[in-house]
Symmetry: D3
């Protein structure tokens, strides 16, 4: 049990996620936090390459016990900060391959990767790594966008395309997957239809906002079933007032409180991986509310693991 007395002040120390040890060691590790500072697939505002640094910076505020779920989250799990897996920008197809290789050791060792993005293209690398270890997982997505375009100005590896690529590659199981939160202007009605035709279930924001967290979670659980799953949280899921620092914000979404409730509701699912993506720190105001939200979403994900393990 940690206390304010025996803990160095929050403003001190080399920044690792939630002050967990920085190590490559995976033995006995429950969750390995990995930064993936890649933003080469961004269609509007870049900067997500600094997402891992920003989340680590404010994650010093994360203490052991989550009163929202009454669980000693940090105390009940072995968590390490594995540092970053990286690829230079300039070749997104190559980058996805390199990032997947960099991520694979984590699920192979039986640890759960909690990835700090980076733009959403990195989810393709994550899915490759998870599928290699566990078979294609269900995708549970909270996002303003379905990210199932085929290409963007000729680019097939882009932050709007990872889940189409993942279906094509067989590294995700769309028949067990639920995408929720789609909002904002889209190219055409076909955008969302395309996602459905790929096999995904969609709960757009105008439908999701009518559900309680429990109703949402029931719907997800019934679709995902007992197989392995992957939870991906794009910070543009929430309203820009709560997450201004993101690449493609869409006005009129949920609050941080609503978003955290949705994440926390997802108990009883066999999550083998998580990510929080699309935080672009140069667009955060000085109080860094987006980074703080992102760190709390990651913490809520840890809470899901802690509840599953206890």
């Amino acid at each position: 049990m940690s206390t304010p007395e025996d803990t160095p002040p929050r403003f001190s120390g080399i920044r690792t996620f939630a002050r967990r040890p920085h190590t490559d060691e995976l033995d006995g590790v429950d969750v390995a936090v990995v930064g993936v500072p890649y933003d080469g697939g961004t269609s509007f505002r870049p900067g997500a390459r600094f997402g891992p640094e920003a989340i680590r910076s404010v994650s010093v505020l994360l203490r052991d016990y989550d009163q929202a779920i009454d669980v000693d989250v940090l105390g009940s799990l072995e968590i390490v900060d594995r540092g970053d897996v990286w690829a230079p920008p300039g070749d997104s197809e190559g980058a996805v391959a390199a990032l997947a290789d960099g991520l694979k050791p984590v699920p192979e060792a039986g640890a759960v990767p909690l990835v700090l993005g980076g733009d959403h293209l990195i989810a393709l690398a994550e899915l490759r790594a998870l599928a290699a270890a566990h078979g294609p997982p269900a995708l549970v997505l909270l996002d303003s966008h379905a990210d199932t375009w085929d290409s963007y100005g000729g680019q097939r590896y882009f932050h709007g395309t990872p889940f189409r690529r993942a279906v094509e590659e067989g590294v995700v199981d769309p028949s067990r997957s639920v995408m929720a939160g789609m909002k904002g202007p889209i190219y055409s009605k076909q955008d969302l239809e395309d996602a459905r035709e790929l096999g995904f279930e969609l709960i757009p924001w105008k439908e999701l906002r009518e559900l309680s967290p429990e109703q949402y979670a029931d719907r997800v659980r019934s679709r995902v079933g007992d197989g392995p799953a992957f939870l991906s949280f794009d910070v543009d899921f929430v309203d820009p007032a709560f997450a201004p620092a993101t690449g493609t914000p869409e006005a009129g979404g949920p609050s941080s409180a609503e978003a955290l409730d949705l994440v926390r509701s997802l108990t009883g699912i066999d999550f083998r991986g998580f990510d929080v993506v699309e935080l672009s720190p140069p667009y955060d105001p000085p109080g860094q509310p987006t980074a703080i939200l992102a760190s709390n979403v990651a913490y809520a994900m840890l809470g899901l693991v802690a509840r599953a393990r206890t």
Copy 2:
């Protein structure tokens, strides 16, 4: 139908509203977007002169299809960006006259002006232009303030006075008008009484927040009737967390999602003009949430036209 493949990247190109053509042509035009970069009537924080530029800058994120209302908004309307109608600061009375003259060609040609402000004084110029073409319209106002003062430190043409001037000039029909959203400290109880004595119906925020969007829209429709109407949205209508970049913010208001719902609810009204005003870009944080909200409010207004035309 537009697609991500055949569209230049969102970060490229000369900025016009929603990437519509920049032209003075009005033939066959449904909606003409016009910037009015005037902030000479501002009582606290200036800067709204840069509102049109900021809205155009982020409006590149507006795509054709609005999934919130299931309408191909940009695809079903002829929309142009007419550039700016301007007047130098320093003589607000003269400026209103010049701006009204600059705006008149749009309603005269049968196009609907969608004005990007500028401070709220410009609404007087808009009402003059609309009244000249269509007779005095009903005003549908979403705003923290009724803007019906008589003068401010001796100034009769000010962003707190346009709707009193409009009544005096006979360019608005208060008997068919609804002002909603008033909140925040006021000079005295008389402030709101004055607006009512001029003939306006008021739904202050503490009353509005108890209404569903449908209830609000019913009330507006029953008051406005079949005649021409004008919808004016002051970004200070929402809470400062959602619209920090405005001249006279008032704490404790609605969210962006609530505001967009209210705008979208106003179907079945014969709107001949729209504006989004009081965005002051120097006060937006780096992610520009206020500008993004303003661009989406303008887009929701386009949606009202699209639904009326189809």
Copy 3:
């Protein structure tokens, strides 16, 4: 009754709270606003020493009449801005003593102190000053944190410890006190238990959010009873989207509108003192939403006094 015509523009003049006179005079004064620019007890982000300046700066927007409660707040009370009571940083124990001495003349003269913080440690000084004049008051706290740690890295006078010190010193009556709003990661389950063991009643945020303002107020009233009370508002009570400028933000909280409703609900209590604390202006975005909220919370507190006096 003030009007926009007879009032200097909001952007002019030396900044005092709500443009009240700057004086040490206490005769006939209902409420004395006092800045306490102390942030020597801050565990994460400092800067609250500039809180009083920032609140005064934006408080020019506060006009006389509060339409939310239909009361002429500024017109019905004698309010002065007493300037700042200060202590240099570097010796928090000594500072609390000095601040308490500086604050005592206000309650002694029968005026209600409305303190602009400063970090939350200053509440200990306020409680000492109030208790000296009126006996130990009940504490009504709206805060993400209970601030009842024993020490922090060896420091017993810290912004996380004032209410434990106050109990030890007998300057607060925990048996009549209600702390509400606790949220976010804590060191251990014991953090909140400790507060309860000291005698405080706690309504954590996950419980509070299920209550209406009236239910909350009833619960507070029944606990506080008729004795003197003190209302303390830590701006980190609200979500970081609404109050990004604070020392230890916690994601996922109430909105400004919800917070103001809770403050306004607390009628019928004999408040002898108020504070708004933990505003750290360097972390406010350019539109200063946190300072604006803080000034409106202070104004809502004035409203409570006005309603009690009329």
Copy 4:
């Protein structure tokens, strides 16, 4: 003699200029600091209405003794902060008249006004006030612009026109005046010629930068002679790296150190008034370098008075 021991901390207290008393009293006053928060004459970025507040805010850093000139500046002069003289925006011609009236009592009482702007149009009001008391003064201007246009989009009272108006009105003596620092793109060669044709002497920046402060001062002294003079400092005189927070910045100018040297060099001139104008605080970065420079320029002006009086 003040000391760090007997002075309240710099972060405390109601903000007045350099912590001088806020009073309307002029008896025995050497210098009266007056804010003129007017920015209704601004051609590009507004915001100078918040200039007086910002300068006062950081002027707490100004201590008594100026080591640059070895003079106890604050200790040797009676200085008061007279608060603000204001006019609402919206009628610049009327505003100049109102501001001149508001300023006149200062020179009439024999005190030297040190005006904190506001945009440069206010200089016309200052010159009227000075000329009424002392006859038309010489203008000593440090500015990127000569501000002698005839009109701007039809506006004759604008921040680019005050010195032409002043010549027309006979409230400045161009034959004894020196404008220095002109740089940046201009409309045509005629811009500067116009200023010369009005009778002003010009030292554009490309010529000024070749002069030592002493050479510059000699040139000014020989032109100004023994008559009354007015020193006006537009913060856009320096490079935007040193003064980013201004309405019409021009790249490639002097540093703060160079600018302060020039101001300090102007000994031996009978200055009857001073101003520092065109600080637009919304455009200052968080450390407020422009406001800090402006406050130090004002302090250097006080130093000129102190040296003249001792």
Copy 5:
């Protein structure tokens, strides 16, 4: 000759470079301004994709006549804003090819391209376009870096490699080229040696700062000779105080004034193309000093053309 009277206010209008017409027309055009919003080759801070928008935004301050060189720059040249040539990020090698194709029509038509970047990789595309029309030009580079690495983490098309690629491709003539301004920590002494071995002449900052602009220009002229040349200005050439908004800033460099002098000194060279690159607007403070400097550098380049043509 333009005047302040017949020109719309600087804050109005759709933003094109220096308010030049937006057109694809090249007949009779002297200079075609082209934005290249590509930042897919950035090694540290991205964001240069918004460089063209930011430069256009503040370029409204550029007026016709440059008093620094006594030339009517805008009045003596036919200048158009051709909009942007773009490529999606994610494939830098492909992007360079696409950008080169997009740029080629300008030199082919005999117009001089003035490119607004974008990161420095785009210089390779520019050199290809220029070489195709005119043969390999001399490179005149003002930059903190030589940008002649071979690869970066495996990427051969990167903002640190364009000039090596250009030599390999034969689209630059290093024997007539001068790189100046190199400063800051480098990987090894070999970094600069590599550039020299490729055939470039280098004038590192510690050498350049000892030269007058005339001495620098003489050295450049004697090396470049009469053949075609290309002038590339990376904003990181100046000190971060003057250009904080750039991808890889290096402390301790020249001022804006010094940089502009150097650019202006380069008369008598047959420049067939120009660029200003590496402005990353998300890192500019609110007054946008870097964008303002970049727009003035571009204006100084236009001045070189104007002087050559007159």
Copy 6:
């Protein structure tokens, strides 16, 4: 020899100073970088507690070879990042003791501490640690302030008092020390006299600016002699345009280039310790120019060690 090819991208990885290993190991270490995130002694703007994090964040840009001095700085020294030595705020006297204890192991092991502050009070802790290992060192100070006050509002341990305390404690040798750079308004002439009376030699900025770096270095060397020395760099030494992010900025100082030249000039002195202090990151604009300067000053200090060791 490092290369861009074999180095992870600058935006990746857990942030340690210049990417040196994070370890407590001191065997064979030449320089141990230590963060001291203490700002409890700050008289105006706090925030220096985040100085170490900010310097580490941007220090990823520091590469091995310093072309300014032609030395492979990182390649020729064993440098470690020892993390932070901390004390909670609230008891500055106790904090200095704790910090001194935390720092002592470095000089005891024969390594040179390079401390990243923190406010300037921490220099007292550093001097205690150095004196314990090596005897009282000479102080070489570059700072706008002499920091030799006796107390501030009763506080004897403050960022304006460390060097008086150090003299009293005998942990500095004033007779071999040189303080340079004093500028800005001071309390009285006595401020600087006090420093001289304590035995320090002072070179105020108005004198220093007339010296070449070599002349300055000669003067320092002749005073310091062969004994151990300590070099302390307060970022407020430079002009606020170059270092806006500091607690007590003073307008009108040197540039970054001038400051780096001065640091680099100090060869031939037996420095046993270094610090860079008073960086307050909340006041840095988004491009973080102050942090970048601070990291380069630290790098220049490493260069002094490298030159001494080779």
